[in-house]
């Protein structure tokens, strides 16, 4: 309750400052919207379903793109971790590629796939694939060797060894990488949608700009923050907490 009160006070003050600044009319309302205008935009967006549709479209792309990069990243990461040659060569390439913002892939993606869903999926995958791959690679290396040996000793090999032993054993080590991958994918998706017009939250944001409707821009920004926060706070935190409980690790 105390925690809630502190949050309420903080956000109350923040909104109050915003309101006062807007009331002072230093900037015209189309540059600096009032909290009320933003709230109305939010309401209107949900009322005419445009926000719901945008969320649905964006989330679908996220789920598809993210699951693809998790599967690919795990395979790639394992391959790199278990092969000396690949580790030396591809390992370095992966790290250097990570410094490239994934939106840089968009021109190529448009050229290869056209103005299609595939192009945006490609950008999302490129955004998170490297994080997942690197996480899997380091996770595989950090994971105590004893689990793999114990698994083999008890008759697990090949895919069974990977699925029942190596994967769960490395999970605590790759979870932060999976989380980072999600965050990168989310950023890539929104930037992709902003540049390349086709439904989704990013496009809604740009539409606000085109219509000079800053209330809508800020409303969509809030949505993007909220969704990112909810996924991180609910999905990943829950997985993390469960893992810590199972493994007996002290809650961080």
């Amino acid at each position: 309750m105390k925690r809630f009160a502190r949050h309420a006070i903080f956000y109350g003050v923040l909104i109050a400052i915003w309101m006062v600044l807007a009331k002072l009319k230093i900037w015209p309302p189309y540059v600096f919207p009032t909290p009320k205008g933003v709230a109305e935009s939010l309401w209107a967006g949900f009322a005419d379903h445009s926000f719901w549709i945008a969320i649905a479209v964006s989330m679908k792309r996220m789920l598809l793109g993210y699951s693809l990069s998790v599967v690919l990243g795990m395979v790639l990461g394992l391959a790199v971790a278990s092969n000396k040659f690949l580790e030396e060569t591809m390992g370095g390439l992966l790290v250097s590629l990570q410094s490239l913002p994934s939106i840089c892939w968009l021109p190529l993606a448009v050229l290869w796939f056209g103005l299609s869903e595939k192009a945006i999926l490609f950008v999302v995958v490129m955004g998170s694939l490297l994080s997942v791959t690197i996480a899997m690679e380091t996770g595989r290396q950090q994971m105590p060797k004893i689990y793999g040996m114990a698994g083999r000793n008890l008759g697990a090999c090949g895919f069974k060894l990977f699925w029942y032993v190596l994967l769960p054993a490395s999970l605590p080590f790759i979870l932060s990488g999976l989380k980072q991958g999600w965050a990168f994918a989310w950023r890539s998706l929104i930037s992709g949608e902003m540049i390349f017009v086709s439904l989704g939250l990013g496009q809604l944001l740009m539409m606000g700009r085109d219509l000079n409707d800053m209330s809508q821009v800020i409303a969509v920004m809030m949505l993007i923050i909220a969704i990112g926060y909810i996924v991180d706070g609910l999905v990943f935190k829950t997985i993390e907490r469960r893992l810590q409980h199972k493994w007996g690790l002290a809650p961080a």
Binding site: I146, M149, N153, G155, A156, Y164, A169, G248
Partner: protein, 309 residues
């Protein structure tokens, strides 16, 4: 120590458990697996034999180090063999070789006179660090090997229950391993190994990290379980008393390269007690031989001058 053999006292304990009816049915159906195998097996064929096992590997300096040198050992079915030696003599490595987790440079491991390669559930190793899976419950850990073998769910459940009862951990089936004490974790590892029903149980200093009381208790338990299940056990330890307490035979290994220096037949009545004078006497004899090897290992570590004999 109670005058009763450990075997009987433990069976009496089991009888009082309400879930016993299920277990006895299981014993009747598939009980062969836990019948003593001690006097069974093909005539004269050792359960495990090591023929000319050598292992050498490249060190970081590029030179080759001979870790194990021409090891020859035979273990009868149902025998309890203890291997002792100074740390660094390669006794753990030897177990890894038998388990098939590592490959010997020379020589063969034979089970029932057949050369084995790679891992197999006929030989299960209990690691020094146990290697219990923290993401699984106690029951799931015990079940793991059977699941890999592809046994049906009902059979797995029955056997899991049976082996958990054997190590007195039935109530902890749904616990996670980190919630258990060190001694209990040892017993989970034992149950997990036994549940795959291996012919040979390989144990790598399993009780080294335990306090003395827990260790004594586990010695009794292991002796009882060995008597009940009739498994062949190869038990590695650096503790000579422990080896004499448990083993039918003790093999002493030399320090680098590891060779079998001598074998001792321990012909003391069971159940034995660690503090018993006869155990101490036998241990004394082995310890004198071992001390030589320990001095060698200390010389290598600290240089010859600082070692006082």
């Amino acid at each position: 120590m109670t005058p009763n053999p450990a075997v009987q006292s433990s069976l009496a304990r089991d009888d009082r458990r309400p879930v016993h009816s299920g277990s006895s049915r299981w014993k009747a159906d598939a009980g062969l697996a836990i019948l003593p195998l001690r006097h069974g097996g093909a005539h004269g064929v050792p359960k495990v034999s090591l023929k000319g096992i050598s292992l050498s590997y490249k060190t970081n300096h590029g030179s080759r180090l001979l870790a194990l040198d021409n090891i020859n050992l035979k273990v009868k079915a149902g025998e309890f063999l203890c291997i002792v030696g100074p740390s660094g003599c390669g006794k753990s490595t030897l177990l890894h070789l038998i388990a098939g987790l590592q490959q010997a440079s020379l020589g063969n491991v034979l089970i029932d006179d057949k050369i084995v390669q790679g891992t197999g559930t006929d030989r299960i190793l209990i690691f020094q660090e146990l290697g219990l899976f923290p993401w699984l419950t106690v029951g799931q850990n015990v079940e793991f090997g059977m699941k890999m073998k592809g046994l049906s769910k009902t059979e797995r459940d029955e056997r899991t229950q049976h082996y958990l009862r054997l190590v007195h951990l039935s109530q902890f089936k749904d616990s996670h391993t980190h919630q258990l004490s060190g001694g209990m974790r040892q017993r989970v590892a034992l149950a997990r190994a036994l549940a795959t029903e291996p012919d040979v149980l390989l144990m790598d200093e399993p009780f080294a990290a335990l306090d003395a009381q827990t260790r004594d208790l586990l010695h009794d338990e292991l002796e009882r379980i060995w008597a009940e299940t009739g498994r062949t056990i190869i038990f590695v330890t650096h503790n000579v008393r422990e080896a004499v307490r448990l083993g039918d035979r003790v093999a002493l290994m030399t320090f680098r390269p590891g060779r079998v220096k001598r074998e001792y037949l321990i012909d003391l009545p069971r159940p034995r007690v660690l503090e018993d004078i006869t155990v101490a006497k036998s241990a004394r004899e082995i310890l004198d031989d071992l001390r030589e090897e320990i001095n060698k290992s200390l010389e290598e570590e600290y240089g010859p001058k600082e070692v006082s004999a």
